[in-house]
């Protein structure tokens, strides 16, 4: 039972003691728990990477539409814009968020994605991590390693807080995804385990309190754009950590703060579509257009 960490602090201890990366500890933990070989586990993670890459491409085409018709075509528009303009947020950042939105559109159109950690946040890890990795010339092996890091961070949130919008709001869902991507980017770029946890802490601190208020209760709007934001958040936080900035509040306490904020959030702001944007006159009108009269309020 050597690799079974339950907190960020324990994870850092194991990394320090054994001179291992977060990715390596997470892999050793999985081997220990599942009794599967490291190769087999990496192989399954490679399959997930490929689903992510396929989803990135699939949503960039013209004509993608969600089941409700609420979103679709945004990623295509973004790539058209980038073909004729110099994006203000910079090429790499712009591509990353375009990819994130592409994956979200695939999800909303009942296509195949990897929940990371949830489907509502499935654009962020591909958008931030995979795009950055590809841009930096990382191999599939290196990307798989980075996904291992991401899963370690997601595990800590799942274990010690929540990753469900219905329990902790959007901060829990897209926040966790950003934290995962951000820490993984840091480790992929050679940062230390402590720096990776700092990056994860930054992402959460940046969006603490973000509510979950999906229009018509569908994981589409504002979700797709929040995945774009989460992608940017992950990349910014990774840069800050790689520059040596450290989190004032330790990772585990940030996770706990997020959890407690989620607990006191009104249920109307936790995926029920009864508050926030979903409860605006236009949000209600959209819901009634999709579901029929009377279905506007939650």
């Amino acid at each position: 039972m050597t690799y079974r960490f339950t907190t960020g602090e324990e994870l850092l201890e194991i990394c320090g003691e054994k001179k291992m990366t977060i990715a390596q500890v997470m892999l050793a933990r999985e081997v220990e728990m599942s009794k599967r070989s490291a190769e087999e586990i990496r192989g399954q993670m490679l399959d997930s990477l490929n689903v992510m890459k396929t989803a990135i491409q699939a949503g960039l085409h013209e004509g993608v539409k969600s089941v409700s018709g609420l979103i679709g075509g945004e990623a295509y528009k973004l790539s058209q814009y980038a073909a004729t303009h110099e994006p203000l947020s910079g090429r790499d950042m712009f591509q990353a968020m375009t990819n994130a939105m592409s994956v979200m559109e695939v999800n909303a159109s009942m296509g195949r994605i990897v929940a990371s950690p949830t489907a509502g946040s499935c654009g962020i890890v591909p958008g931030a991590l995979v795009s950055t990795g590809l841009r930096q010339g990382k191999t599939d092996e290196e990307l798989v390693e980075a996904l291992l890091t991401a899963s370690a961070i997601g595990f800590l949130f799942s274990r010690n807080a929540t990753v469900a919008g219905s329990e902790g709001g959007c901060q829990a869902e897209t926040g966790t995804a950003s934290a995962m991507a951000s820490a993984a980017i840091v480790e992929m770029m050679g940062g230390s385990p402590a720096a990776a946890l700092s990056a994860a802490s930054f992402t959460i601190k940046n969006i603490l309190g973000l509510v979950c208020d999906p229009i018509a209760g569908l994981v589409e709007c504002p979700c797709a754009k929040r995945n774009a934001l989460g992608t940017a958040n992950a990349i910014l936080s990774a840069d800050m950590a790689l520059a040596g900035l450290e989190t004032a509040i330790p990772f585990d306490e940030v996770v706990d703060a997020m959890y407690r904020v989620g607990k006191v959030m009104s249920p109307t702001l936790r995926e029920t579509a009864m508050g926030g944007l979903a409860a605006t006159p236009t949000g209600i009108r959209i819901a009634e257009r999709i579901f029929g009269p009377g279905h506007g309020r939650g």
């Binding site: 997930s48 009942m110 929940a115 890890v125 990753v163 018509a216 209760g217 569908l218």
Partner: protein, 221 residues
């Protein structure tokens, strides 16, 4: 469930749009399928909390039904669940129902009638990221996460069951991770044992459990 695999976190690979409302729902349905089997006449879904409010747009209804029909969360046929149920002659209904304040917001009660008129009643919660908990089975409150291979034993006596089961598990070299006992209210003669093990369960082990005195039924999840 605290021993998440990395594939619970980065995963599942699934058909969108929602891990809790689509993939989790499919998994709860599939769990019900394990208990009910293929010979079913009808199924009624009672949707609670957020499931009740937002199920239509997430395809929660399709996912639940697809699961009950035996399909997994990454199966393309999930989209055609209504049509497939019609082809198989399985009647279905969806109703909103408050299952109580303590129930997780993404929960559903599933009532399945088999062709032999027996019933399976199950309540499941989708607890995030596609992970689920079964919290009720045929009149008994319990917890089944389905994370590890799980043996579910229904028994009609309490005498000697625990030692009997542990003996069998030991003889079959099975490592028990978690074991729990659940009884119907005010009844000693009807209970369920949930045994999570770390390894694949052999047919031999199942046979030994099934033939033990007092065992009514055994399921492997």
């Amino acid at each position: 469930m605290v021993d998440y695999s990395m594939f619970d976190i980065l995963g599942p690979v699934m058909i969108g749009p929602s891990s809790s409302h689509t993939a989790g729902a499919a998994r709860i349905g599939k769990m019900a399928h394990k208990f009910a089997g293929d010979d079913i006449k009808s199924v009624d879904f009672y949707l609670h909390g957020s499931f009740a409010k937002t199920y239509r747009g997430h395809g929660t209804d399709k996912a639940l039904l697809a699961g009950v029909l035996g399909f997994g969360e990454s199966d393309d046929r999930l989209r055609e669940a209504f049509e497939i149920a019609a082809q198989r002659g399985v009647a279905y209904s969806f109703q909103e129902k408050d299952l109580g304040d303590l129930m997780h917001p993404n929960s559903v009660k599933i009532v399945i009638r088999r062709t032999d008129d027996s019933e399976v009643v199950l309540i499941g919660s989708s607890i995030g990221g596609g992970n689920i908990n079964i919290v009720h089975l045929n009149g008994i409150d319990l917890t089944i996460s389905g994370e590890h291979p799980t043996i579910i034993v229904r028994h009609n006596t309490s005498k000697g069951i625990i030692s009997g089961m542990t003996n069998i598990l030991m003889a079959c070299n099975l490592d028990v991770l978690y074991m729990s006992f659940h009884k119907k209210k005010n009844r000693d003669d009807e209970g369920v044992m949930v045994i999570e093990v770390s390894d694949v369960v052999s047919d031999e082990a199942l046979r030994a459990i099934r033939t033990f005195p007092g065992i009514v039924d055994v399921y492997l999840i």
